[in-house]
Amino acid sequence: MNLAELLPELLKGLSNFTFGNGVMIFAALILIYLAVFKEIEPVLLLPIGFGCLLANIPLAGMTAAQGMMGVLYNAGIKTELFPLLIFIGVGAMIDFSPLLAQPRMVLLGAAGQFGIFGTLMLAIALGFPLNQAASIGVIGAIDGPTSIFVATKLAPELLAPIAVAAYSYMSLIPIIQPPLMRLLTTKRERLVQMEYTPRPISQRTLIFFPLVLTLVVGLLVPEATPLISMLMLGNLLKVSGVVDRLNKTAQNEIINIATLFLGLAIGATMTAADFLNFNTGKILLLGLIAFALDTVAGLLFGKVMCVMSGYKINPLIGAAGISAFPMAGRLAAKTANDEDPNNFILMHAMGANTAGQLGSVIAGGILLAIVSKMI
């Protein structure tokens, strides 16, 4: 082995480094910067960014099928195990009593899903094939695991940009929503105070809820069963109160490990070849639109309910129906509270917010059902 052969061997890393790799590494650093210094969904964007970094180091082989990232991808993304495990933990963190105390709030969880379909139409208009357009639309579910679950089934090749959009914009809700709130609601509407007359919720109710919901949704929308059932399993582990160690494990080890591996594996799909194209740009743009459409639809539906109820319902809680649990709910409450320091609609907003979480999963399943039938 003389220098003639040695040199290229030494520089193989640099000599195989493409401009695309440079761009993607820059993108990775931006994601990590947002995660660390802006605290935008750090538990997901940091691993995604780091995975992207690794995917663009030439000849490292970590993204090969037998490389670490390939192993994680095949173990948890292709099998859809990771998003479902995350949902077990999320379910154990959600409190459905505000929704159960005022069931009509569930209606607000439906309107907030319009963004999914509106975005699908736009994506079709931009020339995306149906399976991809639907996957892009599900960014409008504004729920990470749902977006990843559906995209993996319909268009795994778009997983990375969809996941990045879903989680990045999730944190921009406080920037995206308030202007739309002010734009679409009158001061009078924002000042509407809501009487809080909750039904008393028995523990029995809390325990039966996840079981009944799994059955009802499962029978109506079989495609939504995996997502809704794992969400409800986690919730049951919590409310049952008899399996504390499983509840703790779901809320900690399971969700943490699944989140770290999911982030790395998805980030590692962001190779220059697959990610650097106009479609990625379009997807990121469409994702932003999806968030806006959800909010607009939610607010408009809130206004309708406001009028129909004779100004007994504050339309702001409509914006909480997009899911993005629990931020959208708190944001709606805060906005009303900023308008009038004596106006408290937190419980109503959280009810609409958890309804949005359910609506997102259901809408995702319905979309999966319709589209997988058509393609």
């Binding site: 208009a125 809700i173 308030p178 909750p198 979309l367």
Partner: protein, 108 residues
């Protein structure tokens, strides 16, 4: 292209229709569930609305809740590089996004 758009429109109509349908069924289900599984004792005064006094206290409770949440945000946004709330609190979704909310909230 137009056919595709018509198809997309059709999907949207059917889709949103089904979503609202499913949600309405959920509404019905939840109403029945809460009625059927209510505690016998409390079930009695379940229908009639709570008294003004109660509403008062509830409102205050809510006020406290909001205040607390906001305080928490101020606190956390004060040290941008501190850790998220402990794992016991559902930090995964909760912690990050909530903080974001008020931090960004200041810009308006």
């Amino acid at each position: 292209m137009t056919t595709n758009l018509l198809l997309a429109l059709q999907i949207t109509l059917i889709g949103m229709g089904l979503v609202f349908g499913a949600i309405l069924i959920l509404w019905l289900t939840m109403t029945l569930l809460t009625k059927l599984t209510a505690d016998p004792d409390s079930a009695s005064h379940a229908p009639q609305p709570v008294s003004a006094a109660e509403t008062e206290t509830l409102a205050q409770a809510a006020a406290a809740a909001v205040a607390l949440a906001m305080a928490e945000q101020q606190l956390s946004s004060a040290h941008p590089l501190k850790n998220p709330p402990t794992a016991i609190v559902s930090a995964w979704q909760l912690g990050m996004r909530t903080r974001q909310m008020t931090e960004k909230g200041h810009r308006f």
